[in-house]
């Protein structure tokens, strides 16, 4: 049972006012709000169970280490990894992609190798690969998208050669909402022995993800986009790949022994977790995932799909509204332009009405180039949003049009 009233009550911020108006938060692709259970878990941990993890023999350290490692297990189960040691805690999606680009790249990428990235990727899934290619004299190529915002599969296949070592693609595009057919993309890449990194930042919170079934080599996401704290993210990697990769950062906890002559690195996952990890962030992520698991991701998906369909239809009724991104399969995001009104102007007015949307390039400039535009207005949804909020958005857009007639 999906009880939207009860769910909204779980999120304290949703009852706040903005300029005297009810907050309508439609910027969920940027970051999600946090349920009370997560906020309370953080307070409780800091009030009763805080100690550094892994290294001590005392009660508090044991308690916090147990919570930290339990969170790892929750995440392992959530994305169905084979082993807990395949779950590496990072600062976020960006940190996770940089880790792979550096560490996998350092070991396996050579001059002339090719890395493929979709034209629709977030900057965080472009720039780390650019930097790697610069260091290694490898070649970054973009997989074109079509005018609906879908990856052009034929062109993708044309680009695949034995030179391609890595394919990095989002599960869901953050600027357009396109659900990429990653299963097919992964399958094809594997035929050429390329490794595939899936950027799950906009996918993992919307539908069930099974990394073993997908057979992706790396999967990354951010805690703050799935109802947990900022400063925590996840890198899943296949065990045998992570085993072969050199460490990314050096420091405490990632080593077996250190001397000035020789340092031995620790086993997975610690090899990739140098320094004091953000154990509280990890615990908050475990708690957030328990929360949505209890609601049931299938229920969430059903509700969100209904909401998204409603939004897609309702926005059609707004005059002069032009959607950017009209893929057959979409989730979470509607991106659009309103006549020739500047997205910034629209955003300013909507803000005053209590409606939080994002405007601009959404850290995906190549997409904007593709469509020949400077930016869009983007409404993005979570399962605590309602049809009424979408109605308010549409009314807001009419108001905007009246002001900039």
């Amino acid at each position: 049972m999906f009880d939207i009233k009860k769910i909204r009550d779980d999120f304290p911020i949703l009852s706040r006012k903005v300029y005297g108006k009810n907050l309508i938060y439609l910027d969920n692709a940027a970051t999600t709000q946090k349920p009370l259970c997560v906020i309370e878990k953080i307070s409780e941990m800091y009030s009763s169970f805080n100690a550094n993890v892994h290294r001590a023999v005392h009660f508090l350290s044991d308690a916090s280490t147990n919570e930290y490692e339990a969170a790892r297990t929750v995440i392992k189960n959530f994305i169905n990894a084979e082993k807990s040691s395949e779950i590496i805690f990072t600062k976020g999606t960006t940190d996770a992609i940089n880790l792979v680009a550096f560490s996998y790249g350092e070991r396996f990428i050579e001059k002339g190798d090719v890395i493929l990235v979709a034209e629709s990727e977030h900057h965080s899934n472009i720039v780390p690969w650019q930097m790697l290619c610069q260091r290694k004299h490898a070649i970054l190529k973009s997989i074109p998208i079509n005018d609906k915002g879908e990856i052009d599969f034929d062109k993708y296949i044309e680009l695949l050669t034995e030179k391609v070592k890595i394919v990095a693609v989002a599960q869901v595009s953050n600027s357009l909402g396109t659900i990429n057919d990653i299963r097919k993309i992964i399958e094809k890449a594997h035929e050429f022995n390329a490794k595939v990194l899936i950027d799950g930042a906009q996918g993992v919170q919307h539908f069930k993800t099974d990394v073993q079934e997908l057979n992706c080599d790396f999967y990354v996401f951010s805690g703050h986009k799935i109802y947990a704290e900022t400063g925590i993210g996840v890198l899943y990697g296949k065990h045998e790949l992570l085993e072969q990769m050199p460490p990314y950062q050096g420091g405490g906890d990632m080593i077996k022994s250190v001397s000035f002559a020789k340092t031995e690195y620790a086993d997975l996952p610690l090899k990739f977790e140098a320094g004091t990890p953000n154990y509280m962030g990890a615990v908050s992520l475990g708690e957030a995932i328990k929360y949505i698991t209890q609601i049931d991701l299938e229920n969430i998906q059903t509700y969100e799909t209904e909401l998204a369909n409603y939004a897609e239809e309702k926005l059609e009724t707004v005059e002069n509204l032009k959607k950017i991104g009209t893929a057959a399969k979409k989730t979470g995001v509607v991106s659009f332009q309103l006549g020739n009104i500047h997205p910034y102007d629209a955003g300013m007015i909507l803000d005053k009405l209590g409606i939080a949307v994002r405007t601009g390039t959404h850290c995906a400039e190549p997409v904007m180039h593709h469509f020949g535009i400077l930016g869009t207005i983007r409404a993005s949804f979570a399962f605590y949003n309602t049809k009424e909020e979408i109605d308010e958005l549409c009314l807001g857009l009419l108001r905007v049009q009246k002001m900039f007639h």
Partner: protein, 141 residues
């Protein structure tokens, strides 16, 4: 009129409106009335890159006064620019340097000028002051 007087006038005009919508309407109107910006000055050197709205600023120094012209692709940004031009264009470098922009706060538009708003306006004000400083230095040479 001094820059202070102009600002007081602006505050008075805006005080007629209680509603932010009306204030924005006024801003938009000011934007529409802004002296047209010469397209040939839309050079990379004149652009002030905010993440969201592009802003252009051009300066000429004529008879001891700095003449600014400016433009923006978002209308609200353009309106605020018009307001700033009313206060700061056609002034001596000294006047420009010494002006404190208190009216923005008072008419409730400070949000548009918060340094964290990615609209380029804060950078534009900085740029205006920089021009004034540069021209003053030149004069004193």
């Amino acid at each position: 009129m001094t820059t202070e007087e102009v600002q007081n006038q602006i505050i008075e005009e805006f005080s007629l409106f209680d509603d932010w919508m009306d204030k924005y309407e006024m801003i938009i109107e000011m934007g529409n009335e802004l002296t047209p910006y010469n397209e040939k000055y839309k050079t990379p050197a004149n652009i002030i890159n905010g993440c969201q709205s592009r802003v252009w600023l051009n300066a000429d120094y004529i008879d001891g006064k700095v003449i600014f012209t400016a433009d923006a692709d978002a209308i609200i940004a353009k309106g605020i620019i018009a307001l700033l031009m009313n206060i700061l264009s056609n002034r001596t470098p000294k006047e420009i340097i010494e002006t404190e922009l208190f009216c923005i706060d008072r008419i409730g538009l400070h949000q548009n000028l918060s340094p964290t708003r990615a609209n380029g306006l804060v950078l534009m004000i900085k740029q205006i002051k920089n021009y004034a400083i540069a021209y003053q230095a030149k004069t004193n040479e």
